[in-house]
């Protein structure tokens, strides 16, 4: 027990930070503070991954979530303006409150169920192998056992790229169903221009 104490203190500190960050993200009125709360949450989860020896996951968590997703959120917030707070929309408040409390209750119920059955019969803990969580082990898993879904995900990335292009290009090149000859012509020339360049 004693030799695990520092690790446990580390884990619980990270967990406390994660809860703090999650509450901040959920309850702050200012969107930038919300994004920062999310950042705290993501960082503390990365720390927890580290203490579980999942180093690769910890770094991916940092690079993808903290590096890309939070930055993307910040970009959106900056585009909308930092003063863009959520409007005081009272519509559907009851439904939202109902949905939220239903989700909260079921989450609490789930945790209670798991803790209850864990207290009755503790899980067998299998010690991690030497290379657990390393990039090597991860790569071997990804490119050997899970090579089929890895290859399939290329189609997913492809459709996302094509979809983004289709949606972005569509804004300038079409007109409403009303029929707008001017827009039509200018779109034709702009398409031609992009083709030549």
């Amino acid at each position: 027990m004693n030799q695990h104490l520092p690790a446990q203190i580390f884990m619980y500190t990270a967990a406390a930070f994660a809860v703090f960050g999650a509450l901040g993200a959920a309850f702050s009125k200012n969107p930038i503070r919300g994004a920062m709360g999310l950042l705290v949450l993501i960082l503390s989860i990365a720390v927890m991954f580290l203490s579980l020896h999942a180093e690769f996951l910890a770094f991916i968590q940092l690079i993808v979530y903290a590096g890309a997703i939070v930055v993307l959120f910040l970009f959106v917030i900056m585009l909308l303006g930092p003063s863009a707070t959520s409007p005081a929309d009272k519509r559907g408040l009851l439904v939202r409150a109902f949905g939220g409390s239903l989700f909260g209750l079921s989450a609490i119920g789930l945790i209670a169920l798991c803790v209850n059955s864990l207290l009755k019969t503790p899980l067998e803990v299998v010690p991690a192998t030497e290379d657990f969580g390393h990039v090597n082990a991860f790569g071997a898993e990804l490119f050997a056992r899970a090579v089929v879904p890895f290859e399939l995900s290329s189609a997913l990335l492809m459709v996302a790229v094509v979809g983004a292009i289709a949606v972005a290009r569509g804004r300038h090149t079409d007109d409403d169903a009303q029929g707008n000859a001017v827009a039509r012509q200018s779109s034709a020339t702009s398409v031609a221009a992009t083709k030549e360049s």
């Binding site: 059955s117 879904p149 189609a155 997913l156 459709v159 094509v162 979809g163 289709a166 007109d175 169903a177």
Partner: protein, 491 residues
């Protein structure tokens, strides 16, 4: 080599999609792209048929794909169905997009990738590949919905579809995560084994995971009360995209639903009437049929009516899924129904496309008034396919409903069969209303009327769909035989 043969349908469409994008980028001529997309998807169907005839027993070395992808007759049936729907929808797109001046090659690329996603779902043997396929299909459908960016309605529809679809995907993923937590398996066979052996430490977790998965699946097949996105997305999307969503996306979603429910949750306890999923799905089926038919009867827009009708058809299909828990022919009747629904729905949307032209699109019932007298050749397809959707005897729709209700009666689900029957009678009301407006009404003076378009693509799609509807309506036996063989793998 055997792996390549087994995966040839999906490989054909993937390679075709990449080639089509290259062709679109480098060719000046646009008109062939739609035909190319149709041919590529048709080739996917042909490859699936060829593998079916070649025989899966003759293929060896498929263990490499385990547990990620399953290639069985169920997969091949859905490959054929999805590719057929996709090919017909891309023919419709070839006429519609040009007429409405939004023709850009991305549409066909998106459709092909969505088809690839749907085929991945049909062959998925693991929740991971299932989810990748689902997202590939859904992202293609979201982008196709948003394709007419100049129209606010299309953009709004796409945003609604995207948000609710992502929400559904999140619920589904949450369910998969809980199931993994309970059993330690992500593959469907492993999940089934550990649920059957009851060796999970957290049975409650498994139940909650199963419920979340069912909710996510219900969103994707647009069952009431998870249907809110469907009418808006179907109405706002360009009509070929709508027909694609109503046909191929729905077929993919039902492939997923059947594979998950009958393979992963196929043990006796999960399939029992007291502790499993059948009562949940039965309730969904009853609510879906009744609510969708009631709302569909009150629509003023034909496109929106067809959207609600596709929800109602999802309800009938769910009846078949429930009845299949007692074995029998119910599951093959579901597959056959999907086939008849696919050709009838493509035809109905195609008929609607044919009735309108640029700036004078046929949307509401009023737009169609008197069209049957002014232009009988154009009104005929819409009337014919609406009759098939209503289930009037010489058409495919009749046998689809007949086998579904018959198998429900055989399985002892008399009350479900009666509810489905009452609903299909009520459903005939709003399909026949289209005929009333086409042939018995005159447009009000000065009211805008739809002006028919001319397109070889749309005509080709309609003729092909009509051939299928008539063939399935006159001699359904061979198709039913195929559907029966396809279900053996799942039951």
């Amino acid at each position: 080599m055997d792996i390549l043969i087994a995966l040839s349908p999906i490989v054909a469409v993937s390679v075709g999609a990449l080639l089509l994008m290259l062709a679109e980028a480098f060719s000046k001529q646009r008109s062939g792209i739609a035909l190319g997309a149709a041919v590529i998807q048709a080739s996917g169907a042909v490859f699936a048929g060829a593998v079916w005839i070649y025989g899966l027993d003759a293929l060896s070395g498929l263990d490499v794909l385990k547990p990620w992808l399953i290639v069985d007759r169920f997969t091949l049936f859905f490959d054929m169905l999805i590719c057929l729907g996709g090919a017909l929808a891309s023919l419709l797109a070839g006429g519609y997009l040009r007429e409405h001046r939004i023709e850009r090659g991305e549409f066909y690329a998106l459709m092909l990738f969505a088809t690839i996603g749907a085929m991945m779902i049909a062959s998925a043997g693991d929740t991971l590949t299932l989810f990748i396929g689902l997202e590939t299909m859904s992202i293609g459908a979201y982008a196709m919905t948003a394709f007419r960016r100049g129209s606010q309605r299309s953009t709004e529809a796409a945003v609604k579809y995207f948000l609710l679809g992502s929400f559904a995907a999140a619920l589904l993923l949450y369910g998969f995560a809980l199931l993994y937590g309970a059993t330690g398996h992500t593959d469907l066979a492993g999940l089934a084994a550990s649920l059957k052996g009851n060796e999970t430490q957290f049975p409650q977790l498994a139940v909650i995971g199963m419920l979340l998965v069912i909710v996510g699946l219900a969103f994707k097949v647009s069952a009431v009360p998870f249907h809110a996105w469907t009418p808006d997305a179907y109405e706002g999307a360009p009509t070929p995209a709508t027909s694609y969503m109503a046909v191929a996306v729905k077929a993919g979603a039902f492939a997923m639903l059947m594979r998950v429910l009958f393979v992963a949750f196929g043990d006796e306890r999960s399939m029992s009437w007291f502790a499993g999923w059948p009562p949940v799905v039965a309730a969904l089926a009853v609510v879906t049929m009744s609510v969708a038919n009631l709302i569909a009867g009150r629509q003023e827009s034909v496109k929106r009516m067809l959207a609600y009708s596709s929800i109602a058809h999802a309800g009938y299909l769910l009846v078949g899924v429930v009845c299949a828990t007692r074995g029998g022919e119910a599951l093959s009747s579901v597959l056959f129904y999907l086939l008849t629904y696919t050709v009838s729905t493509i035809g109905a949307f195609g008929g609607l496309i044919l009735c309108g032209s640029y700036g004078k699109e046929a949307v509401s019932y009023e737009d169609l008034s008197g069209l049957g007298k002014r232009n009988p050749a154009v009104a005929l397809p819409l009337a014919f396919f609406c009759m098939s959707l209503a289930g009037i005897p010489p058409t495919a729709g009749f046998f689809g409903k007949w086998y579904l209700i018959k198998s429900a009666m055989d399985g002892g689900f008399h009350w479900l069969a009666i509810i489905a029957l009452v609903n299909s009678v009520f459903g005939a009301y709003y399909y026949l209303r289209v005929l009333v407006f086409l042939y018995m009404r005159e447009p009000a003076a000065g009211a805008p009327v739809a002006v028919p378009m001319k397109s070889g693509y749309v005509a080709a799609a309609l003729i092909l769909a009509a051939v299928f509807v008539v063939m399935l309506g006159l001699s359904p036996d061979s198709a039913i035989d195929v559907a029966t063989k396809a279900t053996i793998a799942v039951q």
